[in-house]
Symmetry: C2
Subunit: 362 residues, 2 copies
């Protein structure tokens, strides 16, 4: 182990203990620049999804690098971002459970939000919030073109919602939200083209046509008409992105520093990071993370605070008390377990970044 | 739906939005009393594991019902409990990653902790913390009898650690920590008997002999020599406990109230509770939770903030905007996603209980 890393590990454990969530600022900055460059090259605005970092500090870094605005998945995330001074926000989900608390109206009073809907019940909630806030609300229609998530499944349904928005004095039609599967971009084009013509027929234009996803960067701009792309994971990357071929391990900015706290048998070990740290989300991969120092070690099982190591394939095995760095399978859910990220650069701790929107369940 | 429940759901969504973590105090109190009664009948002290609720308020309810003390899994959890005034605490893990921050010494200055070890490196960390705190530290030896988690695998290894504790002026041998698999209690007895004799030979007695686990309540007291039992999940119960046959759905005190936010197709629906709410921990079960109102609906997939419903088996299907209650597969990891629990009784909101030790990763 080089001396810089050894001394950084000491600094981490003495100041924060383990497990500790660490981001490498050099890699983060490279990732932010690279996402922006990909958007710029495609002539598509960049609207990063902040669900990955949940931090206004990191959102501001993305805006400073050229992003148009941000995407949030929760009203509470948007509140945190607005408190920090960020104002150009799409909340990319049907805000039904959040609207009824009055919080949506309160936030709409402060900044003009862009919200999403795939149904009339959501639209009614937005009408009420906009009217309570005395400010017209921008609404995008979420369209599903194969993922079978939220989203209307046909241009006809989308048109009906657009008509309802058009007829509502508290709502304004702002555009369309897509999240095509990696291989369903041609179908998405057919859907969009048909819908665009139908909308034109009633005098509407989608000013925002948004696509999403880090793996979908390979397709950015392919949907003719795209105005924006929203990607989250690329700010940090993870084992899923490496597996998908859109990042290398060197592009993974986020690691969990964890101690080997038990070595019950020759080929066994226990990390102090389990399902309450890295989460049980395997992202469809084998095992629960990649240990940088011991790439042949397997994290094959989790207890809540323990990761179970199978060291049978390791010639060189970690010692008791040793600190190792784990690249999680899915970074977005691991960041969400921490209240803070320790940001390092060139082997030195630089700052502590609060995961300010963590716990914003609504 | 009866009127009380309907009005409670309205109160929940208007005050807190969805998703919202709710506990039914009547069921919680019954569960706490039942765990205490099982310990009392076996003449074994009750030391509930607070990892499930992470709340001093609930820990105090357990102590008031007769518990001897509590079990924590993290130093940060113990800190929160000590701040609240709870002093009889076992931290049931090798505190390697936490000891080096100085926090262990600081807490040991305030209260005499009981800590656990399965290795000499942990013991060295405890010696340093105890000496920094100028207070002798009680140490239990963790013994593995088949689960292949942390813990020494033989009485000989345990004896060597006991000798090291005996020789150390800052450490005091306090006892043994077991977590037998449900079918390995006979082997645990053999291990314990042999170890007890070896310890007697060097003049040591295990004042604490601790067993653990909610499913292991069926075996409580079976290990002759047991002085304490530590169980966590039984305070709330979950789908895993129902599957294990140690609880019924009526014993499940914790549910997540979640809204149906999208109905993209006849047999599809989306909840506003996903892997950042219920977590991807299936506990080895099929699907991701049980919907009380629609027991034949399947939560078959998660996105971070969305649960994907398969409604093909439902005659009666939930409507858009409807609030449903989900019993999670594994309650301990779901509670850990929330900053607060809304406590209800007889259809009325009673209080908001902070999950005060959430986010205490160290």
């Amino acid at each position: 182990m080089n001396e810089d890393l050894s001394s950084l590990k000491n600094d981490i454990i003495e100041n924060f203990g383990t497990p500790c969530a660490v981001i490498d600022l050099n890699v983060v900055e490279k990732n932010i620049a690279s996402a922006q460059a990909r958007c710029d090259m495609a002539n598509v605005a960049n609207r990063p999804h902040i669900k990955t970092h949940k931090s206004p500090v990191l959102a501001q870094m993305q805006l400073d690098a050229g992003a148009q605005g941000i995407t949030c998945q929760k009203l509470g995330e948007a509140e945190v971002m607005v408190n920090f001074g960020i104002t150009d926000i799409i909340v990319a989900t049907n805000l039904l459970g959040a609207a009824r608390t009055g919080r949506l109206a309160n936030l709409q009073k402060r900044v003009p939000l862009k919200v999403c809907a795939d149904n009339l019940v959501s639209l009614a909630a937005y009408t009420k919030a906009a009217s309570d806030a005395s400010r017209v609300m921008d609404v995008l229609i979420e369209c599903d073109t194969g993922q079978k998530r939220a989203g209307v499944e046909s241009p006809e349904e989308a048109l009906r919602l657009a008509e309802a928005i058009q007829a509502d004095k508290w709502l304004s039609f702002a555009g369309l939200l897509f999240y095509p599967a990696i291989d369903s971009w041609p179908e998405t084009q057919v859907f969009y083209d048909e819908l665009r013509d139908k909308l034109a027929h009633i005098g509407l234009t989608a000013n925002i046509v948004s696509t999403g996803g880090t793996p979908n960067f390979v397709n950015i701009g392919k949907l003719k008409g795209t105005t924006e792309h929203r990607a989250g994971t690329c700010v940090f990357n993870d084992r899923m992105m490496v597996k998908a071929g859109v990042a290398t391990l060197e592009d993974c900015a986020y690691t969990v520093y964890t101690s080997v706290v038990s070595r019950g048998g020759k080929d066994r070990g226990i990390l102090d990071a389990g399902s309450k740290t890295l989460t049980s989300d395997t992202g469809g991969l084998e095992d629960y993370g990649h240990i940088i120092e011991y790439p042949t070690a397997r994290i094959h099982k989790f207890a809540e605070e323990h990761g179970f190591l199978d060291l049978s394939k390791c010639n060189n095995k970690p010692e008791l008390g040793e600190i190792v760095r784990v690249v999680p399978n899915h970074v977005c859910v691991s960041v969400n377990m921490f209240d803070q990220l320790v940001a390092v650069r060139d082997g030195k701790i630089q700052q502590v970044i609060p995961v300010a929107a963590r716990g914003m369940l609504v």
